[in-house]
């Protein structure tokens, strides 16, 4: 990641959402969201299941187009990557999964293998390079997905509940990887419904419930004095059930 060694000198473009909403087959799933994500923070998108966390991340990453409203990056659209809840890996070896991503990115063929091996090493997968990606354990698969994201040198990394299906050791590895990205100047936008994880990682929190964005506050404030009733209940550890979308 040569380019990411001097990233802090160059600001990450801000993501701006203006009245962005999303409907599917006439059904509103996300009420209009106005939002601005600046700087190189670690933003945790929180809320119960069905709150619209994944939807908001997919809109932000550009996998879905908003039904209404405007979503744009201030300045140039930055390089982005996304890590999904259940990693989608190609039916190839771990190494081939990474060289494929490099090929798509336009890396010259002669450099691909070395870069891919370096990334495998970084995420503790060096011994598994020849293993078919599909037979790796859940934690290894997620690390491979992170290694692939690493090679894309993203300025912004989206992670959609990347640890929800993993055991503590694997969760620790993913969180360490997230830190690694952040240290190298990548902005993190990660969804989670795990409060402890959020406390460990978050600089600021987006709290969603029932397809509405209820709070966007610095982590400290969210964990001590959330402003919404749902947010307070969520912090208390009450079972917050997402009401049907707006």
């Amino acid at each position: 990641m040569t380019t990411l060694n001097q990233p802090l000198t160059q600001a990450i473009p801000s993501l701006i959402l203006e009245e962005v909403s999303f409907r599917h087959r006439g059904q509103p799933l996300l009420a209009p969201v106005t939002l601005r994500l600046d700087g190189c923070h670690r933003t945790l998108v929180m809320g119960p299941n069905g709150a619209g966390k994944s939807l908001l991340m997919r809109l932000a990453h550009g996998l879905l187009a908003p039904s209404q409203g405007r979503l744009h990056w201030e300045g140039e659209t930055p390089r982005q990557a996304m890590v999904f809840q259940r990693p989608v890996l190609l039916r190839r070896s771990a190494l081939a999964n990474l060289t494929h991503a490099l090929a798509v990115k336009g890396t010259p063929r002669r450099l691909r293998k070395a870069l891919a091996r370096e990334a495998l090493e970084r995420f503790g997968l060096a011994a598994l390079e020849a293993r078919p990606a599909r037979v790796l354990s859940g934690g290894e698969q997620q690390r491979l997905a992170l290694a692939r994201a690493w090679l894309l040198e993203p300025r912004v990394l989206f992670l959609d509940e990347p640890t929800s299906a993993l055991d503590p050791a694997a969760i620790q590895a993913v969180e360490a990887a997230v830190d690694e990205f952040h240290r190298h100047g990548t902005r993190i936008v990660m969804s989670s419904h795990d409060l402890h994880q959020a406390r460990r990682l978050a600089d600021d929190v987006l709290f969603l419930c029932g397809g509405r964005l209820l709070e966007h506050t610095p982590a400290e404030r969210f964990f001590t004095a959330p402003t919404s009733t749902e947010g307070r209940a969520f912090i208390r550890g009450d079972l917050v059930v997402s009401p049907p979308p707006p």
């Binding site: 990453h61 999904f84 798509v104 599909r134």
Partner: protein, 234 residues
Amino acid sequence: MPTSDSAFITALNLVLGLDPALLAIVTLSLQVSLLAVLIATLIGLPLGAALALWRFPGRGLLIVVLNALMGLPPVVAGLAVYLLLSRAGPLGQFGLLFTPGAMVIAQVLLILPIIAALTRQQVEELHGEYAEQLTSLGLTRLRRIPTLLWDARLGLITVVLAGFGRASAEVGAVMIVGGNIDGVTRVMTTAIVLETSKGNLALALGLGLVLLVLVTLINGAAHLLGEMARRRLG
């Protein structure tokens, strides 16, 4: 069962004796069918993948037509190619009628719909799983074709085999456009038809056995290839 006994012995004698006439027929059969499969695969795989990835008006109709063409009767395919290649036909000037080339063309026409339609199905299913990730990685639709074809390779072996099975088994198309000319366009299936009509049942059955063994061998090889890949991929 004197007939089948003698048929078996006849077949054995032909094969073990490496009868040159038989060898010529077997070689031509394999050449025609394998070349047809190769051409149909080179066209059919990308075509099927493209059909899985692109949305355009008339796509549904095209898929229905392609699926229907999977059942195209070989004699109809043969007749169409006959009309195209006959002296008065639009491609008559090339003088391809009653040559192995014409037989390859007819078989390509027969199996291209099979390979394209089945590839479309497999690639579409795989893409359902991959779409978000590939979009996130920034793959254009064109760039997705090689990625998806390679990742669907295990299923596609079976697709190509289905095409080969159809090509090696059909008789109607090669009979019409090839003419079953001894030493020029005679293949196993047309030879079987001829020997049967001459009442030479033993020889016909012998040829049939040889055909069966060949098809089984090729399918076995493909199966092994698939199993090896499957084991490697877990």
